[in-house]
Amino acid sequence: MSTGPTSESSAKSGGLAAWWYRRGRFAASHLGLGLTAITMLVPFLWMVLASFKPLVEVEQLNPFPSVWHPENYIKVFQQIPFARYYFNSVFIAAWVTLLQCLTSAMAAYAFARLRWRWRDGVFRLYLATLMIPGVVTMIPNYTLMVKLHLLDSYLGLIVPASFSAFGTFLLRQFMLTIPPSLDEAAAMDGASPWSIFWNVIMPISRAGLVTLAIFTFLGTYGSFFWPLILIKSEYLRTLPIGMLYFDTIYGRQTNLIMAASVMNIIPLVILFVAAQKFIVRGIQLGAVKG
């Protein structure tokens, strides 16, 4: 996928000097990339190593623990309801992802595949709100949750996050690339708009849906501001909020905090390695079309 601007043909034509030049350039490139990669990795390595240390050794310069203490990870579960935080984060993120993909796909279908009056006007209204900082709507939404008695509840965390102008925009861009002849043919056969949406458009938009699902899941899993102001009870805390209070209250136990951080990050690393293709393409698509 990374076919760069360096040209193969001109490189082949050179003699020995050109061969050495190319060799040197590749070595220099690998050196630059390698140093950057190490810079990226070192903080993570320090985190993993510190999570296996006894507390006294965290403050020592030697990055390696003298004795490895995997039980630090068990201690985290004993000190705070970490499993509960995990469950809350995944449960909420899963619901938000499901609902957001569904509502966004339906709206995107209306914007991309159906012809109706006011369509472009309504779509422009959606686009206009993308520029508004989240904090503008955050305050009224908080007072709305107070009025609806949804403070400190799963519903309050899930429902407001289940509608996304950005998701609608992303999937609309995806659906615009599908040739119109497909739905026309299905309509000729007497298929209803719902059946065209569900059986024709949705399967073709799978890549877009997966991309949106990954980003929504990630965003919700890591979301901080909204759960921070909404949640009061300990059993409803998500991972980021639980981590924050763990750090505030047990901040001295750096080894346990690092163990919790490692456990927080591991699902993300797995997700990234598994879905890298979609993530890379999704970022590039979201911008190019934007």
Binding site: F197, F225, M258, A260
Partner: protein, 328 residues
């Protein structure tokens, strides 16, 4: 054949769930927030509700904290050009036909992908002046290269490692309580620590991926022709690659401004609580404290609209400049 009326009804049906959510949680709140910004609404009801017209905005203009926090927000954006240039540089290195591209790309993207509270807690420990590895490395460098002696020889007063998140110093020498520069504030402090962390998180992230996509879209004939003409690498970059990447750069700059102006909340809440002495409080964090710690909903809404206006104006300016640069 379907009638237009039929298609309109279908569209309404498909749009309804999303549109309802859009009205209740986005469009409605935007209008509500604008209205509330002209009131003194306080959730704790210590003072009776009143419409105070432009009262909040006038108070805001005279609020010395607002200006300090605006400067903080702008200061934290100083890392932006470094991060963008770094992303471009890495993308150029990655765009060559090297082995291990996917491995590099994965490692570079890791901080962006895992960013959040956990990474900020990690960086708080890294910056710890007593046992953090950052200062371990700095102290090692100071003693190994005799930097203190060097500085003394040049007329300075010796060097100690910065206390990072605990220091109000900064590379511009900005004062703590007033918007001005003073010599005593010159150094490295909390804001610089956050900038460094931000560059580390962002340099191999989405911007690098955007540049990679941009680079792969440059027609090979262009660079080949330049090479045949004997152009140097720098000239190829300057006259072929850079202009071809202009739309990508433009998009990245616009998005960075939008993100930067409303940023800084999470790191302030997790790492510094806006301190020391308010030096890492950005506008976003100020709005949070006003709204959700002091419950001054009216004032916080006014603040959020000022933030929105600033973002709007700067985005328009960016577009103007961008279009002039892109169209010649």
């Amino acid at each position: 054949m379907r009638t237009r009326r039929y298609e309109l009804l279908a569209a309404i049906g498909f749009l309804l769930p999303n549109f309802a959510g859009f009205v209740v949680f986005t469009a409605g709140p935007v209008l509500f927030s604008l209205a509330v910004s002209f009131s003194n609404w306080n959730l704790q009801r210590t003072i009776p509700f009143q419409w105070i017209r432009l009262g909040n905005f006038i108070e805001l203009m005279h609020d010395p904290n607002f200006w300090l926090y605006f400067v903080n927000t702008a200061y934290l954006m100083l890392g932006m050009p470094v991060a963008i240039a770094g992303s471009l540089f890495l993308a150029i290195l990655l765009s060559q036909r090297l082995r291990g591209i996917v491995v590099y790309r994965t490692l570079f993207y890791l901080p962006t992908f895992t960013s959040g509270v956990a990474l900020m807690i990690l960086w708080k420990a890294l910056y710890n002046p007593d046992f953090g590895p950052v200062n371990a490395a700095v102290n090692w460098a100071i003693s190994t290269f005799h930097i203190s002696d060097l500085v003394r020889a040049l007329g300075g007063t010796g060097v100690t490692a910065p206390t990072w998140l605990l220091a109000t110093k900064n590379v511009l020498g900005l004062d703590v309580e007033q918007v001005r520069m003073v010599r005593g504030q010159w150094g490295l402090g909390a804001r610089d620590a956050l900038i460094i962390m931000g560059v580390w998180i962002g340099i191999g992230g989405s911007n690098m991926l955007l540049y990679l996509a941009g680079l792969s879209n440059i027609p090979e004939e262009l660079t080949e022709a330049a090479q045949l003409d004997g152009a140097s690498n720098w000239n190829i970059f300057r006259h072929v690659t850079w202009p071809q990447l202009a739309p990508t750069t433009f998009f990245i700059i616009v998005m960075s401004f939008i993100g930067g102006l409303q940023g800084g909340f999470e790191q302030a809440r997790v790492m510094t609580l806006g301190g020391p002495a308010g030096t890492t409080t950005t506008i976003a964090y100020y709005i949070y404290t006003k709204a959700f710690e002091e419950f001054q909903i009216g004032y916080a809404s006014a603040l959020s609209w000022i933030l929105f206006s600033i973002i709007f104006v700067i985005t328009i300016i960016n577009w103007r400049i961008g279009h002039r640069e892109l169209s010649y």
